[in-house]
């Protein structure tokens, strides 16, 4: 059965008609054509589908689209303003991106971390990114990138 879903995505109010069987990740990718959010394992382990829902990161493959009715979403497409977000910039500079599949999820998780903890230790970064799996980089450069972004954001180098 289909139900109306009203959501605000990256600041824009949208309305979609979703089958109850549709997952939020599919609504974003297929109906709204926001394909920056990736579909990985589909069962809540890899984190490639991470989006911010009402200000906190969730795995959108574990959210029914109809359950997101009334929510405010931030996807990777909404992260940059005129310039890349410091986390995005740092990931590029630190070579924390290879295939890029995990990257949108990593960016959002890193943004949540730095909102809660602007000066995290490496261990805290690893803990915060534990829900985002990367098969390429071995995580080292990702952690370095988050440190670099944290430093810059603390200095006000937005």
């Amino acid at each position: 059965m289909r139900q109306p879903v009203r959501i605000t995505v990256n600041g824009r109010e949208l309305e979609a008609d979703a089958d109850t069987r549709k997952l939020l990740v599919n609504l974003l990718r297929d109906d709204l054509e926001l394909t920056g959010t990736h579909f990985g394992c589909g069962t809540g382990t890899c984190g490639a589908c991470t989006v911010m829902l009402n200000g906190r990161c969730v795995k959108s493959c574990c959210v029914l689209a109809v359950d997101a009715d009334g929510a405010e979403l931030l996807t990777i497409e909404g992260v940059a303003n005129d310039a890349p977000h410091p986390v995005q910039q740092a990931l590029a500079e630190c070579h924390g991106v290879q295939c890029g599949f995990c990257t949108p999820g990593m960016v959002l998780s890193a943004i949540e971390l730095l909102q809660d903890n602007p000066a995290p230790s490496d261990a805290e970064i690893r803990e915060a990114l534990a829900g985002n799996l990367c098969r390429c980089t071995g995580y080292v450069n990702i952690v370095a990138a988050v440190q670099l972004a944290a430093t810059r954001m603390a200095q006000g180098d937005a």
Binding site: G44, V58, C62, D67
Partner: protein
């Protein structure tokens, strides 16, 4: 995309939700965080015809302080519980257990009600709530002619778990809240939670929740509850009449309490038993150190 069709409702009134759940208990599932149910439906392991979302019902959410306990709504997320200052103050053991569930995204969505109703034997909350003597508030539609009548009952945690992933909840009955008795001040009690998992973010092989309190005679009393070793959590009272416990005697007490440890691809029965003993003893040691710190700060 989930394969089987279902309808989805998200009532704002508890009586409406309970009525929906009672109408067709076998074909209806309550939805809280969805971190277990949604992947199960995606994988085709669960195919309810009706989903009743509990998240918009005020009585089932939030964290409230009562005179002697903290009432944690069923739909409170692990993140809420881990970071709430009242839980941190009055039941730090629970906050620690919540902080170690899954990963950040899981904690932002997953809920205590969903976790304990599902009763995965390795869930962090199970031994933590057992050690804390929590009480489960369960609600269901009341039978009879009144449409909105509901019934409520309080279930001591020791009676809640019935077996492997089974609880004593009746058909159509839900966890509404968890009442956690306020713990003693840090000067009189120490707590520690330990999780042992093969892979970060996974369910643990075993987890341990230890509580140690100071008694007037200078002796200490305490317990350690173990999750993941048996189909339901088990609580082991630490030998009384002592001011401290050697790791070896704690390990022995734990081993004696676990008669038929579970076995799977992550851990054989022997290994699981051994890890329960080792990590249980470490949790006790950490709880004792926490109490030492608390006593010093008095």
């Amino acid at each position: 995309m989930i394969a089987e069709r279902f309808d989805y409702q998200s009532p704002t009134r508890l009586a409406d939700a309970l009525r929906l759940l009672a109408a067709d208990p076998d074909g209806t599932r309550p939805l809280s965080g969805g971190m277990t149910l949604v992947p199960m439906m995606t994988l085709g392991l669960a195919a309810p015809e009706h989903i009743v979302d509990l998240k918009r019902i005020p009585e089932l959410g939030g964290i409230h302080e009562e005179p002697d306990a903290v009432r944690i709504g069923a739909t409170a997320t692990h993140h809420d519980i881990a970071t709430d200052p009242r839980v941190r103050l009055h039941a730090p053991l629970l906050a620690d257990a919540a902080a170690l569930v899954g990963d950040v995204q899981v904690r932002n969505r997953g809920t205590i009600g969903g976790s304990i109703a599902h009763a995965d034997p390795a869930a962090n909350y199970l031994p933590a709530l057992l050690a804390l003597d929590a009480v489960i508030e369960a609600r269901a539609k009341r039978g009879g002619l009144l449409r909105n009548a509901t019934r409520s009952r309080r279930i001591p945690i020791g009676e809640f778990f019935a077996g492997l992933m089974a609880t004593c909840l009746a058909a159509g009955e839900i966890v509404a809240a968890v009442h956690v008795p306020k713990q003693l001040a840090a000067t009189h009690q120490g707590a520690a939670f330990r999780k042992f998992a093969r892979v970060k973010g996974n369910f643990p092989i075993v987890c341990a929740a230890a509580l140690v309190e100071r008694q007037s005679s200078g002796e200490r009393a305490g317990c350690v509850a173990i999750g993941g070793a048996l189909p339901i959590p088990v609580r082991i009272a630490l030998p009384g009449g002592q001011a401290a416990w050697a790791a070896g005697e704690v390990e022995t007490a734990i081993r004696q309490a676990i008669d038929d440890p579970m076995s799977d691809a992550n851990a054989s029965a022997d290994y699981r038993l051994e890890m329960a003993a080792v990590h249980g003893a470490r949790a006790v040691e950490a709880a004792c150190r926490a109490l030492d710190d608390g006593e010093r700060s008095a």
